[in-house]
Every structure is written in structure tokens, then in C-alpha cells.
Amino acid sequence: MIKVSLTVNGKKHEKETAPDTSLLDFLRSIGVKSVKKGCGKGECGACGVIMDGVYCKSCIVLAIQANGTEIKTVESLGNAQNPHPLQTSFVDEGAVQCGYCIPSMLLAAKNMLDKNPEPDEKEIRKSLDGNLCRCTGYVKQIAAVKKAAKIMRENKNDQ
């Protein structure tokens, strides 16, 4: 057993775990349930988190590799009372069906928008390429990211 300590959405967590535990399993074991497991092999993209500012699939990162890092999950974007523009547009555009892919997809989109606030359709598609969704056909998700990008730009200009 080894001790892993990290910060999740600003809150510190510390726990003993087996050395081969993935970051995904570790996060879920400390009660972070918004990070989903769809494959455990880095193939589906349901388990995305932002680790020290970099989007990654938490199932193929070892918990120990994440020791001392700062993890952000979908909760860091916003909540029901105070949602992030991405969350609002996903909800309003009908981009959410079963929802299993959504938390991670939101993070992937956020990660892209942080670097590229004005993406074209191709860039949006590309940013979601690693996030499988079996329900929606991606159409509304692409539209939602486009819409959120616009809102975020406007919000910035207002400031």
C-alpha cells in the first residue's frame, strides 16, 4: 500500500491505496463519482479529468502518478445553481441523453476552449474525438460547444 494525496476541486484528499490503482479507481474510491468508467483502458473517454491543467483519461494514469497534483472534475465547472456556460448549453441544446459520457466531454471541451476560445467546427469535433458517445450522434454536443464558446467570449468582453 502507498499513500496518495491530491487535491480534487480544491479539496485535499489523502488515502492509502494499492500501487497499481488507477487514478480513476482512486477518485471513485474517495467518493468522486462524476468521473465515470466506460472501459478502464483509455478507449472511451468517460473518465476524463483535468490534472494540473491538462485534460487526461484518469483510467490510464496511476493514482501514484497523480500524487501531489491538482485534479479538476466536472464539479469544478459549476453546479445546478451556478452552471458553467458549457453545462448550460449542453442542457439547453439537448446534448445530454443517457449522460454517461457528459461529465468527461464537458471537461474535454473546457480544456480546448481554454486554449482556443474561438474554435471552428472542425476543431470542436477534433477536441471531442476521444470521447465516445453512443446516444447523440455528437450533433448537439458540437452545437453546444459552439454556443458555449460564444457565450464565454461575450462574458469575457463584458468584463
Binding site: 462524476s34 466536472v74 449522460g99 454517461y100 453512443r134
Partner: protein, 760 residues
């Protein structure tokens, strides 16, 4: 026409929780003292179990129990329609992934490690992995009943005379592949034994009532001792119809043995390697027509590879059988459908229920007829398709809205700009093509399953005017709950915000049958309306009195405000009326019920009334094929559906988008690599499903809204129709691009390159 649907333009009720990470799926739920279950399964598909020694594994750390066929605390014989399966193999393995032992441990990892200590010896036996080979008398028999365990027929008219007098005969053999559901959330259950000997089962499922029945049978207890909670379900597409019963039984067995809650979550690989699939089918189609392109008869032989266990294959085959003639009124028909055991993974329900496979075939054949007689592919469908004059479905019944097929063709032609794409550019190895696929879909369950064609809704008016609604149909991600909320709000004339609805709890509403066959809107919606109809007269009566109006028939509720039709100045709010209902102590709750009209049908001939009613649908797809690599790039799709009435505009668009892209996956990329019945590409890096980069640039869609009197507000259903004709349109488009007839799905690069080579 109201293009916006019946809904109030609000996001679906569950979207916010899902987008903020708050929705709890089955693996997100835990109970005190909960153990983790693990399934130890067979790597071989056909074998004799010689040794299964669990002694060492049992002694491993954290292990609470290991169950085999010898110490299973429940009945080992299981099955949906035929009891041809064992929960745990006692002696003969018939399918790769067959369960051999169940392990309960403190952690998942401990269970997995213990499984490695099981001493297993299997003696491989000869298996059969092709449904046509399984027909041979010398083929290994999978079950004592023989490999063909069910046949279905359609017989209409007289094919012999047709054969003699036909100018044109087109005979082809098609090979249509299966498909993995690939729901993003894998199968899973938690079984929680209760202090009073009853059970709570939490499951990701589209059919909680199936689970209730099978768990109670397994344990030998009455159904009122089993309460199933459907958890937020991460996609299903048919894959969570009957299959979730298996994880549920595994978790229940382990919980029974240990007396503790047990969670079983399928790892992706095992999920893919053991769960049901879309059936692969081999279909011989013979078409008889005149020189003018008038179809006089069809003869089909449909061989359905059911895999090692019957599951619901007969039900799927029944739909394939009757749908195989397509949306054409053909006077002479002979269809024989065989449902065949093999040692492959077993087939099950999957969006379209056997209809996509046969649609691909009847459409490829009519395309070929068009080419043979020199007619446009849409024109040939106009001639043979249903219309005000040609009203008869394969079952011989006259349809109520056959003319909608012609409208469908018109819309498809116009929106896709069909004519402008008929002579597409071709640059070197890049060839473009356009194709069409159409279909007819019997909404709800086939005659053979009509006993299950029912639905219930429980509606309670609370004294603050809000509403608690429970419906027996499940939301598996498709948005059924949003549709139920819309229908309830529209029937009462109130805001959707007043209605609370969530996943199914089997104790709340009576068994509503399975949520399949695109029947959620129809059967759930009708039940909701029935519940409203039981309460509304009471409310109207009170409202009339409060509005000093003598005739309750003269009041109406709109946007939550009651007024009389004549005097619109006086109003009373819906909330106030409900408050008054409570003051008068009038029953504020109602159970609504729906059942389809009983139908007559002769299974020997396939003649009679097969379904409650029908919907048409079609796709036009444009592709670019690289003849060097065989890669197909989808440029554009156009979908048109006859939906009766749009309930949720956003929801229906989502279904069409999802159905189309899933259909493109099936048609172009999703292929099983089976080695002696074992799925070798079980994982998303080898079994490829569409990503955001694979979807076409443009997905057009339109709807035909001519209300169907039996549906709620005239609605039909969209879940399955959205998928069915995609494959057909892809075959049609690729065939057009390559100027050759393709007879195989999926059209993977390899299959295309091979077809081109064969054609040269």
C-alpha cells in the same frame, strides 16, 4: 403544422443532474457492508467442463463465497422464453463467456485475483459457428431440440404462378452482420437483501419488471418480495432488455449466499464478450417482376444466427420475418425465417429488432430491380410502394395511412436534392454515390407479444398543485421521462415544471411490460392520458363551481389557469383547484392503464393483424468511396420519419441523430472478429464505433405529422425507426458510387476492396 412539438421547449428533466455530475448510475451507489461480485467465465465456446476446483481461490484474502452449479442458492435453469440456459454451467459450455463460478469479495480486485486461483479444465468439443452450417444434419447439436428451434412464415398469394409469368427474376444471397450495443455504461446490478426477507435490486435496465419476475423465480419467492429500482441508465438500445437479468441473478445469488448486499459491474471486455448482440443474418431474396418494374412476388429465406441460447431471438426473428417484404404491397409472398442455434454469442434485441437487417436486403433488391428495368430508384419505390391504392402490408392487412409512404419519398427526394446527385463527380479513386433506404415499422409489440402490450401510470396531485408521476416505461437515456412529462402537462393544461418524474420503481406502478419496440411514448403516454382522464373531470367540476359556471364541460385549463370558454375574464389557478379538491377530501390519485386492441393473426401464414399500427421512415445517404483503400466517407444524410405527432422536438431530433450515426457505425465500421465464437475485438480500440470525427457533415431531417388516432396526441414512436433504414441507404449509396451490387454489411474497407476485386 406545428413543427415545435407538443412540449414547452424546456430541457429534459434529467439533463441538469447529468451535466453537473450529480446523476447516480448503478456503480455510483453503495451500501454498508456491500461486497463485490465477479463472474468467472469460460474462454471457450464449446467444451465439456472437466474440472472446476475452487478450493485455493476460496482461501484467498477477502473472499466471502464462491458459487458453482453445485452450491447455487437458487434455480440454475434460466431463460427468457425457453429455459435453455444455466446461470452456472454444470457440465457443458455452449458459448464463450458462459458463467462457471461467481465470486463475492470485499473488493473487486480481490475477487479478480481469486479467480486466477481457480483450477479449471475444459475439454474442447466440436462447435458450429455458422448458421447455415448448423442446418446440416451432421452439425453438432447445441441443444436437444435441434439447431433450428423456431420457424416463422409469411405466405400470401401464389408464388408458383408468379414465377412462371415473370419477365424478371432477381436472386441474391446477402450476408448482414451483427452489432455490439456499446452503451457507454456497462451492465450492472446491486442486490440488497432486506430484513423482512424481501429484496431490493438496483439495476441499469430498460425492463425492471423482467428482473422482478426472474429474480423471484430464481429464489422461489413471490414477486411482491422483489422490488426493482431502475438506476439512471447509461444507454441501452435493446442491450438492457433481457440481458440485465443475468447480472441481477448473479448479484442476487451472491447476496443470498452471503446475506450481504452485492454489486456486480461488468468490465467492458466481459460485457462485450458475453452480452447479447444484434443478430447476424444470411438472407436469400428472390424477386419476381414485370419489365415495367412492377413487383409480382418475393421469396425469402432468412437464416437468423441466434447464438448459443434462445434469449429473445424468436421475438426478434418474428419482426424480421414480417418486416422482410418492406413498405411494398406485393401480391405473392413466401417468407421462411429460421432461428438457429450456433456456438456464437447469443443474439438479442437491438434497436430495430431484426428490421434493419431485412430492410437492407429488400432495399438492395428493389435498387437492383430499378437498375435492371432502367428506372430511377425513387421512382421504382413509388410504383411498388404503399399508396392510397396499394394498402396491404405483408400480413395482408390494410394499413390506415399507406399514402404516407409516397409523402415520405417526396420529402426524401426533395430535401436530399436527389436528382442533382445522380451523376456525381468521380475523381480518380474517389467515387461519390447517393443511396436511399426506406422501411415500414410496426409500432409496439408483434401479435406474438401482445399479451405484454400494456402500460401503467400512477399520477398523484399533491395539495400544492404539483404532480408526482410514475410511469412503468423506462428512460434509458432516450428521453422517455421528458415525453411523459410533456404528455401529462399537455393533457392537464399546465406547466411541465409542476411534474416530477424519475426512474422506474416496480413497487410504484403495475407491470407495464418491457420498454422496447419504440413503445414508450405510445404505451406510457396512453397510460398517462388515461390517468389524467380519471382526475380531470373532478378538477373541471370543482373549477366550474369556483368559476360560477354550471357546465364543467365549459371550463378549460391552459397554462395552469382555469377559465370558462365563454367568460375569459374570470379565472382560477390550477393550484387553487387542486387545493379545493383536497379540502373536499376527493381522491387525488389515479392509476392510468393502456392496452392495445386484441389482434388476430395466423402464425402459420403470417396473415392477420401483426401490429397495432405502422410508421414509415427513410434515409438518403451520400458517400464518397476511396476505391484504393475501400474507405467510405459519409458526406450527408437525410432522414424523414412518419411520427404521427412530435411530442418533444429536441428529443426526437436527438433520437434521429443518434439513430443515424449508430446506423452508420453498423453499416460501415462495426464488425465482430469472432474466433470459434469468441469475440476477439472486445474493446473500443478494436471494435470501432463512430466518433465525432466520423459523423457526416450534414444530417438533414424532416417529419411527417399525420396523427395516428391510437397514439397519445397522435404520436407513433421514433427510437427504432431512426436506425432501421440507415444500413439500406448506405448499401444503396456505395453500390451507386461503385456501380456494382453490394450484398454485405458492414461495408468495412476490407469488404469493399474485396467486392471491387471480385467485380473486376
Amino acid at each position: 403544422m406545428n413543427k415545435k412539438g407538443l412540449d414547452q421547449g424546456k430541457p429534459r428533466p434529467d439533463a441538469k443532474a447529468k451535466a453537473t455530475g450529480k446523476a447516480l448510475y448503478v456503480d455510483d451507489i453503495k451500501f454498508p457492508r456491500m461486497l463485490h461480485g465477479y463472474i468467472f467465465s469460460s474462454p471457450l465456446a464449446s467444451a465439456k467442463l472437466e474440472k472446476l476446483d475452487i478450493a485455493k481461490a476460496k482461501a484467498a484474502p477477502g473472499i466471502h463465497t464462491i458459487l458453482t452449479a453445485d452450491n447455487l442458492p437458487g434455480s440454475n435453469r434460466i431463460g427468457m422464453i425457453f429455459d435453455d440456459e444455466e446461470l452456472l454451467v454444470s457440465s457443458r459450455v455452449r458459448m464463450s463467456g458462459d458463467r462457471l463460478a461467481l465470486i463475492a469479495a470485499e473488493t473487486q480486485l480481490q475477487a479478480k485475483k481469486a479467480a486466477e486461483l481457480i483450477n479449471l479444465k475444459l475439454q474442447e468439443t466440436p462447435g458450429v459457428y455458422d448458421c447455415r452450417e448448423a442446418l446440416s444434419p451432421s452439425a453438432p447439436q447445441i441443444h436437444p431440440e435441434g439447431n433450428v428451434f423456431k420457424e416463422f412464415n409469411v405466405r400470401r398469394g401464389n408464388l408458383d404462378e408468379t414465377v412462371l409469368s415473370s419477365d424478371i427474376i432477381i436472386e441474391e444471397d446477402y450476408e448482414i452482420g451483427g452489432q455490439e450495443h456499446a452503451y457507454l455504461e456497462t451492465q450492472g446490478t446491486i442486490a440488497v437483501p432486506q430484513a423482512d426477507d424481501s429484496w431490493h435490486i438496483y439495476s441499469t435496465t430498460q425492463c425492471p419488471y423482467y428482473i422482478r419476475a426472474r429474480v423471484s423465480r430464481f429464489l422461489g419467492i413471490t414477486q411482491n418480495k422483489v422490488r426493482v429500482f431502475q438506476t439512471v441508465t447509461g444507454g441501452a438500445f435493446g442491450g438492457k432488455e433481457d440481458f440485465p437479468d443475468e447480472p441481477a441473478l448473479c448479484a442476487t445469488a451472491l447476496a443470498k449466499a452471503t446475506g450481504r448486499p452485492v454489486k456486480v459491474i461488468y468490465p467492458r471486455k466481459y460485457d462485450m464478450q458475453s452480452s447479447t448482440k444484434r443478430h447476424s443474418m444470411k438472407i436469400k431474396h428472390k424477386l419476381f417482376a414485370t419489365k415495367q418494374g412492377q413487383i409480382k412476388g418475393v421469396k425469402l429465406d432468412i437464416d437468423v444466427d441466434a447464438g448459443a441460447y434462445a434469449g429473445l431471438s424468436t421475438v426478434v426473428a418474428e419482426r424480421a420475418n414480417i418486416s422482410s417484404v418492406g413498405p411494398y404491397d406485393i401480391p405473392n409472398i413466401q417468407v421462411k425465417t429460421k432461428v438457429i442455434y450456433t456456438n456464437n454469442l447469443y443474439g438479442g434485441p437491438y434497436r430495430g429488432f431484426g428490421a434493419p437487417q431485412v430492410s437492407a436486403v429488400h432495399e438492395a433488391q428493389i435498387d437492383k430491380l430499378a437498375r435492371t428495368v432502367g428506372k430511377d430508384r425513387i421512382e421504382i419505390r413509388r410504383i411498388n410502394g404503399m399508396s392510397a391504392q396499394k394498402r396491404k402490408f405483408a400480413s395482408g392487412e390494410e394499413l390506415a395511412q399507406p399514402h404516407l409512404y409516397q409523402e415520405l419519398l417526396n420529402k426524401l427526394e426533395k430535401i436530399s436534392k436527389w436528382r442533382t446527385h445522380l451523376q456525381p463527380p468521380s475523381r480518380g479513386n474517389l467515387k461519390e454515390g447517393i443511396g436511399i433506404g426506406t422501411m415500414i415499422y410496426g409500432v409496439n409489440l408483434h401479435w406474438g407479444g401482445q399479451r405484454l402490450d400494456r402500460g401503467a401510470a400512477y399520477l398523484v396531485l399533491l395539495n400544492d398543485g404539483s404532480i408526482s408521476l410514475a410511469v412503468g416505461v423506462t428512460d434509458m437515456g432516450q428521453g422517455a421521462n421528458a415525453a411523459m412529462r410533456t404528455i401529462c402537462a399537455a393533457a392537464l393544461g399546465i406547466s411541465e415544471d409542476l411534474i416530477q418524474i424519475s426512474e422506474v420503481d416496480t413497487d410504484k406502478v403495475p407491470d407495464s411490460g418491457p420498454t422496447v419496440a419504440s413503445r414508450a411514448t405510445m404505451s406510457g403516454g396512453r397510460a398517462v392520458i388515461d390517468a389524467v382522464n380519471r382526475l380531470k373531470p373532478k378538477l373541471d367540476k370543482i373549477a366550474a363551481q369556483m368559476l360560477d359556471c354550471e357546465d364543467p364541460g365549459q371550463v378549460e385549463c391552459k397554462d395552469g389557469i382555469y377559465q370558462t370558454k365563454s367568460n375569459q375574464t374570470k379565472t382560477v389557478s390550477f393550484e387553487k383547484v387542486v387545493e379545493e379538491l383536497y379540502l373536499r377530501r376527493i381522491n387525488p390519485a389515479a392509476i392510468g392503464w393502456y392496452r392495445s386492441e386484441p389482434r388476430q393473426y395466423d402464425p402459420e401464414t403470417g396473415q392477420g393483424k401483426a401490429y397495432a399500427f405502422y410508421a414509415f421512415g427513410g434515409h438518403v445517404t451520400r458517400v464518397q468511396v476511396d476505391t484504393d483503400t475501400g474507405r467510405v466517407n459519409v458526406l450527408e444524410t437525410t432522414a424523414v420519419h412518419d411520427v404521427g405527432k412530435i411530442i418533444n422536438y429536441q428529443g426526437i431530433k436527438g433520437q434521429v441523430h443518434g439513430g443515424t450515426v449508430q446506423g452508420l457505425g453498423w453499416a460501415l465500421m462495426e464488425e465482430f472478429k469472432l474466433n470459434k465464437g469468441k469475440m476477439m475485438n472486445a474493446g473500443f480500440s478494436d471494435y470501432l464505433i463512430p466518433t465525432s470525427m466520423d459523423m457526416p457533415e450534414k444530417l438533414n431531417m424532416d417529419f411527417i405529422e399525420e396523427p395516428q388516432p391510437q397514439g397519445p396526441f397522435g404520436a407513433k414512436g421514433i427510437g427504432e425507426p431512426s436506425f432501421i433504414s440507415v444500413g439500406a441507404s448506405v448499401i444503396s449509396a456505395v453500390s451507386h458510387a461503385l456501380n456494382q451490387d453490394l450484398k454485405i454489411l458492414p461495408l468495412t474497407p476490407q469488404n469493399i476492396v474485396e467486392s471491387i476485386r471480385k467485380n473486376d
